[in-house]
Symmetry: C2
Subunit: 109 residues, 2 copies
DNA sequence: GACTCATATTAGTTTACGCTAATGCATTAG
DNA sequence: CTAATGCATTAGCGTAAACTAATATGAGTC
């Protein structure tokens, strides 16, 4: 695979459990700095910064430098490729399988 | 990371572009055998079988052996962890995007 | 200016992953 | 029975990826 499409980078970014956990932590917070992220991540600060770079390149997070801190926040639009990818199969599933609504009901009744 | 949760295996399975393409090809077809999958995949038959194994372990596909052929079909329920994960952020998106439920309404009002 | 503090970056190591080529194992065909 | 077909599995290779440790950068502090 030569080119890297948005869905590629988003999927890849979220595939790693540690990195996904970092993203989840950011999403739960309004804004959060690297030190706080590092505290819960279980890896070194350097590793966290690398994960943040990946997430940023995937469009999943944005940064706001303030003094010597850098605050990160989630970019929900960054998940659009994932939504699109899933919705692409919506029609398909509706015809042949239990539709997505029942699935959603199970998840969030 | 020691344990591997459903969301882990699903994400990881879909992260690789080649493997994701294999899944998409299966999803488009009703059923499809390995030879046909190999034809479009761009990799060898052995590689395809390995990808199929990953997808199967992730719960994304099911197999139906028939003679010396093995037909694969998509398991939409296998995507539930992904839906679950996304729905967790539904509230976050609701203001800016159509949420999953409205997406479904468009398809099947 | 010297010294922290917060984060980014780099180098180097280890592990995981995807791939090919080869082989194994059934099943069907002749 | 022998050969061919379809798929799975294995060994081995190359590369990518995640991590640590160390260092660089840059902003506040004294």
């Amino acid at each position: 695979m030569i080119q890297t499409s948005p869905i590629d980078s988003v999927m890849r970014a979220l595939a790693d459990p540690t990195r996904r956990a970092v993203f989840e932590r950011i999403a739960r917070a309004d804004e959060i700095n690297v030190a706080e992220l590092t505290r819960v991540s279980g890896v070194t600060q350097g590793a966290v910064s690398q994960h943040l770079k990946s997430l940023k390149l995937a469009g999943l997070v944005a940064e706001r430098p303030q003094g010597r801190n850098v605050f990160y926040r989630a970019r929900p639009e960054g998940l659009a490729p994932l939504f699109d990818w899933l919705s692409h199969y919506d029609l398909f599933w509706r015809d042949r399988f239990a539709d997505l609504r029942s699935l959603l009901k199970e998840i969030d009744p």
